[in-house]
């Protein structure tokens, strides 16, 4: 069995086969989040793309790369969003260096 089939993105609805009530609640929430609000659909798509990269979810990367194009973003803007996600991931790892410092300091004279 192969992992991460491209066509599986279009089969997402099949996840609702068991406990459709929970899936419907998820979909209503998910779709409401996408609508224009205080943030535009374009901004939300860029956030989606950044989060997709932070999570390294190939389905989400595919879906939000398309959503970004279809909401009017270009590759420069999308690349900046990906760098933001990556930089925060990098920073989040790096700041844990203080945990190491604290741990070392605790047992050092």
């Amino acid at each position: 069995m192969a992992y991460y089939e491209e066509d599986d993105l279009d089969r997402f609805g099949e996840v609702g086969k068991h406990r459709p009530d929970l899936f419907e609640k998820f979909m209503a929430w998910y779709q409401a989040c996408q609508e224009d609000g205080a943030l535009s659909r374009r901004e939300k798509s860029l956030i989606g793309l950044a989060v997709a990269h932070a999570l390294q979810c190939p389905y989400c990367i595919d879906a939000y790369a398309q959503a970004c194009l279809e909401s009017g973003s270009n590759m420069e803007q999308m690349t900046e969003a990906i760098h933001m996600a990556s930089a925060i991931r990098g920073g989040a790892s790096l700041i844990h260096g203080l945990q190491a410092h604290n741990s070392v300091n605790k047992v050092s004279m």
Binding site: F12, G13, G16, R41, R42, L69, E70, G72
Partner: protein, 337 residues
């Protein structure tokens, strides 16, 4: 989530869609019929073009030889005189390259018809075309020009190397004679096509981007931006097939079907004529050789407006391209619902 529908047989050379367009309309209680009057006579004067764009639904290029003769141009002018179409919309190819182009524009303008020319910008730098901006202005032509993006890379990717730079130079020439300048009364509209297998963004937001960026980067102005969905026919369909995107793109169009777009579809208010004088419901049907319904007059010389009122529109899978999302027409989106 939408369920995938079974694939049905499609006409030769047309896209394969996961649903039938007429059945989709019927499922929404809709029937596609022409409006009470033909507002626009859209004339495709031929397939000759100085460019060979990757998405072109006409398959136009410098190698094509199919162009409208003077005799057929005169039949068009005669039809404009007899039936007083409010709008004559001239497209190609690059329509300026046919010998009778200026005769057609000047004659239709003299008859009081609003003339739209689908002008690819770069043709202005072809031999004998240097005075096009002045010619357009003298005949009150509304200019509609493709510029897929405000950045060079995306534009050249779709329309060919060096096209962006020439397009910007041409836009400046049009601005210099007043086109696209507020208050001049000379309309210059741009057309955005997605550079690939995806739907256009919302027209108003991408128009704002184009206006801001073209002015800041190149000091270029225009009136409106029309977003047009790439139609899955001819060269763009070839691209979809080569790149393995056909089924995904068609599914996207079908899933984005918007019943509110149907009322404003351009086929309801126009008649399309090909370079031989044959009649079609739209330029896309023309390229698929899907003529008007067989019981109707088939050529411009036999045109009878009464017979085209409320006529059934001939449809196929590509029609999903015009009903996806906010809809798509030669004048951009068709609904805000």
């Amino acid at each position: 989530m939408p369920q995938t529908l079974p694939v049905i047989n499609a006409p030769t050379g047309a896209a394969r869609a996961p649903a039938d367009f007429d059945e989709k309309l019927a499922a929404h209680g809709l029937l596609l019929r022409a409006a009470a009057t033909v507002e626009t006579l859209q004339v495709n004067v031929g397939k000759l073009c100085n460019q060979a764009c990757k998405h072109c639904h006409v398959d136009a290029s410098p190698a094509r030889t199919e162009i409208m003769t003077r005799e057929t141009v005169d039949e068009i002018i005669d039809a404009v005189r007899r039936f007083r179409f409010p709008v004559l919309d001239i497209t190609g190819g690059a329509p300026e390259l046919i010998p009778s182009f200026r005769h057609l524009v000047a004659s239709a303008h003299a008859l009081g018809t609003r003339v739209i020319v689908r002008h690819n910008l770069t043709v202005l730098f072809e031999p004998g075309q240097d005075d096009l901006p002045q010619f357009f202005r003298a005949h009150g032509v509304e200019v509609v020009s493709s510029l897929p993006y405000f950045l060079e890379q995306q534009t050249d990717q779709q329309r060919g190397h060096g096209v962006f730079e020439k397009s910007i130079a041409a836009l400046r020439r049009l601005n210099e004679v007043g086109y696209g300048i507020d208050g001049s009364g000379l309309d210059l509209h741009l057309v955005y096509n997605p550079v690939g297998a995806f739907l256009p963004p919302p027209q108003s937001s991408i128009e704002a981007d184009f206006k801001r960026e073209l002015l800041a980067r190149y000091n270029v102005s225009f009136n409106h931006l029309y977003t047009i969905t790439n139609m899955p026919i001819k060269r763009f369909l070839d691209y979809l097939r080569r790149s393995g995107n056909e089924s995904r793109y068609m599914r996207k169009l079908v899933e984005a079907f918007n019943p509110h777009a149907v009322e404003g579809l351009m086929c309801r208010s126009l008649v399309s004529v090909d370079w031989t004088g044959k009649l079609f419901d739209c330029d896309f049907n023309q390229m698929l050789e899907l003529g008007v319904a067989p019981e109707l007059p088939q050529t411009i010389s036999d045109f009878d407006p009464a017979k085209f009122t409320g006529r059934p529109i001939v449809t196929a899978a590509h029609c999903f391209g015009c009903t996806a999302g906010a809809g798509s027409s030669c004048g951009g989106t068709v609904t805000d619902k």
